[in-house]
Amino acid sequence: MSVPYAKLPAWADYGLIPLINVVVAFAVAGLVVLLVGESPVEAFTYLIEGAFGRGQNIAYTLYYATSFIFTGLAVAVAFHGGLFNIGGEGQAYVGGLGVALVVLALDGTFPWWVNFPLAIVGAAFMGALWAFVPAYLQARRGSHIVITTIMFNFIAASLMVYLLTTVLKPAGSMSPQTRTFLDGGQLPKLNFVFDWFGASVRSSPLNISFLLALVAAFLVWILIWRTKLGYEIRTQGFSPKAARYAGIGETRIVLVTMLISGALAGMMALNPVMGDANRLQLDFVTGAGFVGIAVALMGRSHPAGIIPAAILFGVLYQGGAEIAFMMPSISRDMIIIIQGLVILFAGALEHMFRPSLQALFASISPRSGAGEAAGQKGA
């Protein structure tokens, strides 16, 4: 007999539990801050101010969130197919190559709004290509995708170092990066949106790829829950045996799922490369591929959860930089500890508070068994 559990209302499941997890993560992080002799309240104030204080800070927070939405969606799509894509980092990195190749070829010829769709295709194609080899090895040879995607991160890093120090570097330049993109290779900023609200933003990297990220989140929702392919991906993810029974080809689903996942990770590159730096640089991904795993975990692999989770990590990145700047005894590593705690509580210990919360809800619910039992006993 299966054990029936009290079902939590949706708002508790998707709102309260993540909130409790984040609060506890911050509380423990506060203890760490206390341990190095600083005031947790002060640190938290800097974090919030750094992330939301002025229009500019909000723009930075959303700029980071943009990257995390892409990588979070990439991990989520793979999750739905029962695959753990740890290679978002490498796929995003190589996606940057796709962006750069398109832009370097066309930025003098076409305006940005022609180059943007082409760059999207380039980024998605290269990201998908980088996911294809691990996917093929998983589908055909059974090589575990966690191992192969991790290794492909290293290959991607080496490949990009090679390309940026040789063929992509302008002749005579000392730095390992491409030439700066012309106007046709620069995405418009979204600063004007903040102007509408009266918050002046002098310069921020927030650009229209943020809107692309929101569109991508919507399309992922359509894909997973409203298409035949998404149905097949979910069937394969929940139960490979049921997929086999239903005549869903495992090889095809593994390949297609990973190609979509890789394409989403690759599109992350649009944000820093075409939207901000306007050139392809070494290590521009800076861990966003890995943050995507935490974002997908926290967002329950659902676009509606991934967007707020990505913004939370945007807050940690942007506000964390502020803490490190304002409180010298808290180093950058400290911020990583705080991020790690959020991942730990929100991801790995996701179910820690669930049983007690369920018990609580069961005891206050009017249909609770205890009350009914007492009634019967009295009768």
């Binding site: 299966s2 009290a6 069937t235 929940f238 039992a373």
Partner: protein
């Protein structure tokens, strides 16, 4: 010894809004065999888990041997002399019998003294209760009947006076079940108390002294077994009158729909699990495949339905071959009119985290009526699911509910509705009523007979001999991967039981 071995007073247990046990009063007399029957979800397992310390009751008292106790863990239950034999054995497969028996009861850092002590104790237990097992054989080499005996020995070794057996005969041949009952009778004669949980009413009648019936979390009746009948118990279980016997007319077998020739299947370890099997199924007949679980029936079913490749042999569907040795595609077979209700509905036939309507198209999800181009036609799928829910009386009638939240019987109806609704020419069905409550069994059986009467071919695999006998027009018996005999639907249980144990089979092969 006091009269009651266990007395439960006013036991209540809820899981959130689900009231699994309501005011349970139960008196189990020492030195008797007490049966507890009820449908799935009636609360039997919860009650026994409370007795065994897995759960704590929300309220109520437990008395063991007259003294009130609070059982907080299974170790505590063992200390009180309560032993449990689980439905799924809790044995370490690559340990010996002896190692399994002392597992958790080893006392010193070095095993040798525990082992020698256990060996002599085991000898005594074997002699006393007729529980012969070689203490040095490895568990995975033993047939299930013997593995179960090891479970019983484990409980006795720990000094159990009260033995709880949860659905003990599900995996046994009729002969093995008889042997188990002789052991239980021996235990009773030695003054032990046995609690037997089952849904098989005939076993209750055969072996128990008293029987309690559970329905919806309550004990609705306790009877002396000698003073009740199968019909009365069934009615108490379901809460209404039940037809225990399937009414069916004579089969009008038509032409051959499914033809299997020399089919051989090898599993991942290289063992021949289906060995040179040949048979036909005609339209308008139900062919039953009997056998103890694990004799190749499951693999046969999977191969015919295109899930598992065969190494040799042919299968013809409506006179056209199925590529069983290569890439048979279950989706294509469905298009050709072969529907499959798999044995394992939890992981194969259904995706439990899906909402009900999503499962109502599994395998048929590429049919144009459910699609708008690449998109699912959610409206159409839900409307279709609603229709099936009312036709098959699936409860609760909510197509947006998670499939995991339906009872076993209703989950099975979801699968049946899906597979039968496309009007297939051939239906292969495995364990149609495993874990399904009595009311739903009646419904499912009637549907299968209806299909037959409409001229469809039905291939039925079941480990429930009663089910095979009451539904089948012809019965094939599988043993060790081979079909060892064919009998008419009127074959006796004894006759089939011998075949299932492979006794007559060796002669047939020679």
């Amino acid at each position: 010894m006091s009269e009651a071995a266990i007395e439960l007073v006013g036991i209540n247990k809820s899981f959130g809004p689900v009231h699994a046990n309501k005011n349970i009063d139960l008196n189990i007399k020492a030195g008797t065999i007490h049966g507890i029957v009820g449908e799935n979800g009636a609360g039997k397992s919860t009650l026994m888990s409370i007795l065994y310390g897995f759960y704590q009751a929300d309220s109520g008292e437990i008395h063991v041997a007259g003294k009130p106790v609070a059982i907080t863990s299974s170790n505590h239950a063992i200390a009180l002399g309560i032993g449990m034999v689980h439905q799924h054995f809790m044995l370490v497969q690559n340990f010996t019998v002896l190692e399994n028996i002392i597992l958790g009861a080893e006392r010193e850092a070095l095993l040798s003294s525990s082992i020698s002590k256990a060996r002599s104790e085991l000898k005594r237990l074997e002699k006393e209760y007729g529980l012969d097992v070689d203490p040095d054989s490895i568990i995975e080499d033993l047939p299930v009947g013997l593995q179960q005996r090891v479970e019983i020995l484990k409980a006795l070794y720990r000094g159990a006076d009260i033995l709880i057996l949860d659905e003990p005969t599900g995996v046994l041949t009729p002969a093995e079940a008889d042997h188990l009952f002789r052991i239980l009778a021996q235990l009773r004669a030695e003054g032990k108390t046995v609690v037997l949980i089952t849904h098989k009413l005939r076993e209750i009648m055969a072996i128990t002294d008293n029987v309690s019936v559970m329905r919806q979390g309550q004990i609705v009746a306790t009877r002396k077994t000698a003073e009740t009948t199968v019909e009365e118990l069934a009615e108490l279980m379901v809460g209404r009158r039940v037809l225990l016997h399937v009414e069916k007319g004579d089969a009008r077998a038509g032409e051959v729909k499914l033809s299997v020739r020399n089919l051989t299947v090898v599993d991942s370890r290289g063992v021949k699990v289906v060995d040179d099997v040949s048979f036909d199924v005609r339209g308008g007949e139900i062919v039953g495949i009997a056998g103890v679980a694990g004799n190749g029936q499951s693999q046969l079913l999977e191969t015919i339905s295109g899930i598992r490749p065969a190494v040799s042999g042919t299968v013809m569907l409506d006179g056209r071959p199925i590529d069983v040795t290569g890439a048979a595609d279950p989706g294509e077979l469905r298009d050709r009119g072969l529907a499959h209700v798999p044995e394992d509905r939890h992981y194969v036939g259904l995706v439990l985290p899906f909402e009900e309507y999503e499962n109502s198209i599994l395998g048929y999800h590429d049919r144009p009526e459910y699609l708008n181009g690449p998109f699912l036609n959610i409206e159409a799928i839900r409307a279709d699911a609603k229709k099936k829910i009312s036709q098959y009386d699936i409860r609760p009638g909510n197509e947006r509910l998670k499939t995991a939240n339906f009872s076993g019987g209703n989950q099975q109806k979801i699968v049946l509705a899906r597979e039968m609704e496309k009007d297939p020419g051939v239906l292969v069905i495995g364990q149609p009523t495993r874990g399904v409550d009595v009311g739903a069994i009646e419904f499912i059986h009637k549907r299968l007979i209806d299909m037959r009467d409409q001229g469809r071919a039905v291939l039925l695999v079941s480990v429930e001999l009663d089910e095979i006998r009451s539904l089948s027009d012809r019965i094939l018996v599988m043993f060790d991967g081979r079909v060892v005999g064919e009998r008419s639907g009127e074959a006796t249980e004894g006759e089939l039981g011998l075949l299932m144990a492979g006794i007559d089979g060796k002669e047939a092969a020679e």
